[in-house]
Symmetry: C3
Subunit: 273 residues, 3 copies
Amino acid sequence: MFGTCFGNVRTTVPLVHNITNYVTVNDVANVLLACGASPIMSDEPRDVADITAICGGLNINIGTLNERTIEGMFTAGKKANELGHPILLDPVGAGASALRTDTAIRLMEELELTVIRGNISEIKTLACGSGTTKGVDADMADAVTEENLSEALTFVKSFGKKSGCIVAVTGAIDLVSDGEACYVIRNGRPQMGKITGTGCQLSGMMTAFVAANPENRLEAAAAAVCAMGLAGEIGWSRMEEGDGNSTYRNRIIDAVYHMDAEVLEKGARYEVR
Amino acid sequence: MFGTCFGNVRTTVPLVHNITNYVTVNDVANVLLACGASPIMSDEPRDVADITAICGGLNINIGTLNERTIEGMFTAGKKANELGHPILLDPVGAGASALRTDTAIRLMEELELTVIRGNISEIKTLACGSGTTKGVDADMADAVTEENLSEALTFVKSFGKKSGCIVAVTGAIDLVSDGEACYVIRNGRPQMGKITGTGCQLSGMMTAFVAANPENRLEAAAAAVCAMGLAGEIGWSRMEEGDGNSTYRNRIIDAVYHMDAEVLEKGARYEVR
Amino acid sequence: MFGTCFGNVRTTVPLVHNITNYVTVNDVANVLLACGASPIMSDEPRDVADITAICGGLNINIGTLNERTIEGMFTAGKKANELGHPILLDPVGAGASALRTDTAIRLMEELELTVIRGNISEIKTLACGSGTTKGVDADMADAVTEENLSEALTFVKSFGKKSGCIVAVTGAIDLVSDGEACYVIRNGRPQMGKITGTGCQLSGMMTAFVAANPENRLEAAAAAVCAMGLAGEIGWSRMEEGDGNSTYRNRIIDAVYHMDAEVLEKGARYEVR
């Protein structure tokens, strides 16, 4: 199934409209190309409706948001909704500032989102207005672990149901749920957290996967998580002595570039709960 | 001749002012340094005139344009025209949105451009207001091939003549014409299309080449195309098993860094028609 | 001492708020992660006060400044001052445009800065309103050399005293002074100048070092300079035939990733004058 989802990205080459932060945008573009999709970036309110109209999906990432790009997010989102395109929201730093929290919540309220993907702290902020955000990385105390897994499952499913979105909480253990089923994914490596933007990259790829698999969005979102995590494992296996986070970044994107349906099927480590 | 053009970049170290998208800007800066030029980025209307005044050439790339940066493009362009500096326009995504198409056309009308560099779809949009743009990558049906080459030559020469600019259409086969002669260039590798921003990088480098060769702008523009394509070939020859588009990006810039006049002369594959 | 300063970064994981240019921002984020700190980027006036409040230090870099981000710099800076957080100013391109010069000077006047880090030309601009800036790279004639070292020392100490800041002038020889003592640092390699943003990366890291060592800010700033230069040396030693500036960039960040207190202590080359 995950292999098929990935194959559909490679064969349909979805064009993904990204309104995303300027920190990690280059890696988002390269990982989208690596997985077989095609990226376009545009955040100007007067530009975004035209751009999103020619795309297959919209990836909204609120890192380095500003008043102009926030307006762009709503304009693009409304157009995408009109056209029935899937929208992914990556609420980078929700909980870290009032503007980020409010913007993420307003995007949830005013747009029909398909997927929300973030770390546990960001997702908790959206779910309950609480959660402690230490910058853009998940607070350690909140991390999903084997110990608190069943509690986390209940939380993610409940937020999926309440929001009507696929909710993807990523961390050491990743959870992807539509409110009913929940994929529990154990791909990836902790060293990925030492690279800026692996989460942003995943959001880009997930938008492509969901756009290319309109009939199986939950599976597609989960497949993207597995693909990114597996790329982290493959990339890590190619690290040489002295290589660090900058080289690891390249190796992960390279691994996505070479991944195919079979590799993903074989390497995906998940259960459905 | 191409070797001399490149040599002039290394000896005169032209400072290039770039108003360019935030997706690929880092690679543009690094490739400019790699080829021996010096980059500076500035897009604020209140900043650009001063910056462009100390530079030797201006590279305007409309990817991720916004209202403020559009104003910056015109302000910088007028100053560059006043000072006789060459201006290159890279109409990223012209045809994909009204704002991009209109901005590119207005830049052509209100500024005296030296070079316009884009893919066939973008250039067709500027030439005829038509052309189908699929995002920022050239539409396959429109690609310049050996089959439609003579038709494409006629088109590029005619647009060169009409616009009064050097026109560079890049793709599998690259065409660079001033309306009279046309360089037909066959350097490069198809895998370069899987890296975000090789076109943007070429625009930066081409601005440097043109700035460093005021007496031979057509040759300089063509030399930059050959240099980028050749770097793609050299970079590819250094790829190892498992390397993908992210590593390829590094290897291409590295190849520019090590290229010299002799390597370029020897590796350039072109004819003049 | 330098080892201890570095160790404190790794153990306290300071969160650094960066208002920085979009050219080199990704490398700044990755080098901050590499040295053990945690980066967050935000430049929107309505966002920056909240963000800086949860951080331990503020890095203001004026490359690609615009009217909105300038406002963000002042808003963030005032909040950081209120909270007693250290602020570093990197006056990229001061002297190259009136807007950059004026903004840097106003930031000095209206904020209580902890560190100012730039090349000699930028620092001279701030000190005397003179200095010739050739883009964002230091003018050769102005470079600190063994020949003009004692003159440069006098200048840096005097500007340190006058400004009340730690002043770090980086180049072939680096000088870091609080107006009394001056660290003269000889780590690094000339090829680092062929990579865009090694200065910006250093500013990010220096902010982290200063934030993590409130009692020893001068030593911490000097330690960051040594760490970056030493990473340039270690990264260079790992270069293979054909590697150029793009690969070198990765190897430097990788070297920071693997550096520890002992390596830094052993490799730091400096004297105090």
